[in-house]
Symmetry: C2
Subunit: 379 residues, 2 copies
């Protein structure tokens, strides 16, 4: 079975700053091994990507290491809300010049706004900052918001007021999907994504314990592995997502790798890896009649391409053996983080081959393109 190359609009690659978890090489290898030919990287790295200098830092790493195509988000911060208005002669917040029209924001995948929790320099507490970003960021460039519950409603209001699109990251709650549905019906320009883990997992303790069925290792595992933002939700929430599939524009992994030592340690960081499990999980849902292959193509290729204004990747497709059954094993994965919340899950539908711009980039478990093969689609 042949599908178009999948697009993941929401991944964390940890470079710069935390390459022991993942980098542009391992992360884009994981992407190819998951059937993704194009990924959009989030800006909450160390340092965060929020101006021309930090964007250059990330893109330099990507240029030399990426094995699939990509673009890099920039983050909305409290001090950079004017950048959408900068011209060739303007300066970044640190005084360095913005070079030209190919600099910010045109060289970025889009603008990411962190509106809940604390994300260091990229936190936006005051809604007047949101308003500035909405006013200044170019209307034809994407804005993606991490905004849960009432914050989500608030950012949808921004889209209504400023009459521009906003994309809601990782929707997880019944109230969220129903409010997005109502806003769409009213004509507000909102789109959204849902992660596989919010479709397939519920909050502990209703969740099967990770230490037996799921990880299959017999090891005691702390609750830290379940930490993810947004949190895993209730069965009522999960059911509401499935019942409102037509409201969900994209499936995005929110691939957020951390090592097992970190997840099982003190102050476990939130986040799951997801690039290498999304497609088999969703194909298994096709097998059980909950989805169609067209549902997958729409939400993992057609819609993300349209919403994020991404170019066509010529001669690009993936091949899947829809009947292959296997067990998910982190040990077989390309991600550096070394674990998955879906360990031991039995799935049906295996990625066989990835062809990216005419070249076989992945086949039968092996990455066949070198670091640097990937291109910046905003370049």
């Amino acid at each position: 079975m042949r599908l178009p190359g999948l697009i993941d609009p929401h991944i964390h690659l940890r470079e710069p700053g935390a390459t022991h978890k993942e980098d542009w090489d391992s992360g884009t290898s994981a992407a190819l091994a998951g059937g993704f030919t194009l990924v959009l990287a989030m800006p909450n790295t160390k340092p965060p990507i929020f101006d021309a200098a930090t964007l250059d830092l990330a893109l330099a790493a990507a240029r030399s290491k990426a094995r699939c195509d990509y673009a890099q988000f920039v983050g909305a911060g409290p001090d950079n809300a004017s950048w959408g208005r900068r011209t060739a002669r303007a300066a970044n917040t640190d005084g360095t010049p913005v070079r030209d029209g190919k600099g910010l924001p045109r060289g970025a995948a889009g603008l990411k706004m962190y509106l809940d929790s604390t994300f260091g320099q990229l936190r936006l507490d005051d809604m007047t900052l949101w308003m500035q970003h909405f006013q200044n960021w170019p209307k034809d460039m994407p804005i993606v918001a991490h905004a849960e519950s009432r914050s989500m409603a608030a950012v949808i209001l921004m889209a209504a007021i400023y009459d521009r699109p906003v994309h809601i990251a990782h929707v997880s709650l019944r109230e969220e999907i129903l409010l997005i549905k109502a806003a769409k019906e009213r004509g507000i320009k909102v789109t959204c994504e849902v992660t596989p883990h919010h479709l397939f997992l519920t909050q502990p303790p209703s969740n099967p314990p990770l230490n037996s069925q799921n990880l299959g290792e017999g090891k005691g595992v702390g609750g830290g592995r379940w930490e993810v933002r947004p949190r895993l939700a209730t069965q009522v929430d999960v059911d509401a997502l499935w019942q409102n599939l037509d409201v969900i524009d994209c499936f995005a992994t929110d691939h957020a790798p951390h090592t097992l030592a970190e997840k099982d340690g003190e102050n476990p960081p939130p986040g799951f890896p997801g690039l290498e499990t999304a497609l088999p999980l969703l194909l298994t849902a096709v097998d059980s009649g909950r989805l169609t292959v067209d549902d997958i193509i729409l939400r993992m290729h057609t819609n993300p391409r349209r919403i994020f204004n991404l170019p066509e990747q010529p001669e690009t497709w993936i091949e899947v053996d829809a009947d292959a059954r296997y067990e998910i094993r982190a040990a077989e994965m390309k991600s550096r983080c070394g674990w998955t919340p879906f360990e031991g899950w039995k799935v049906k539908g295996r990625l066989h081959k990835v062809v990216l711009r005419g070249k076989t980039a992945f086949e039968d478990g092996k990455i066949l393109v070198k670091p640097g093969f990937g291109i910046n689609v905003r370049g």
Copy 2:
């Protein structure tokens, strides 16, 4: 100086349930002594007013005790979102019949939604409940929301989605007033009120300590007297309110009496009395050039009458001695609560007389109408 009878769309009268703080008699006496001829009472009493039976309870007390005109809000709860759709044959949540078209919701001032903090039975955590209330409550009847910051933005989104008006209670923050301004400019049907205490006080400790300058009693006073929701804000917030007076539709007191024993005790309840201080404080601001008398009339008569669809009160006016200077003293007030956060404040502009429906209801400090003189303007 003659002004129209003032309208306060936001007061708490504590009856039923806490008449040691205030009741329909003392509260409406305080209203008259403040220049208000019509007040709208909030539903978070004990029990809360949320169906025909509890509305009857409040209105029975009002009928026998109120000295000025009034109407009573009903509260939006998690279990009563369908009431707007009830007809003569429908039943309340407790099974009692709704009597007729004059019952709920037509007999109420409007619907009050508590969307922040905990207000017992009237808390609405889940936004899908908000959506139900917005869908079901009649479009020509007011909805008032206690909703701060992001919750405020979320409820304005409801107004945008369901294309019906919402009135935001006690706006206190810069981000709130600026977002309301932007929403109004976009044509969203939102109105708002600001309290005198949010116009004249800032958060402690920048606030002058209540125990010396303000209360003038020399007594040590706990921080409990400062407790109010929304909290007193920063000078930046207060300045933003004054700079955006044109966005403020109403001045409302949020008169929320508690006794000094309660305010100075353990777990001090939030709330300030306000009925008897609003007019002199605002007239003093006129004297200092921050406001005009027309600003007051617009926000304390014309706009509340329009927003809450209130009838004209014939032969009704108030008379003010604009040059009279005095010090605010709780000891001279009609409210049962016995204190004010503005104790000792020097003001200019004193209420001399209130004429309500042709009868002198207040003159030179004395209430001249009996309990029961007030009428239910939704009756």
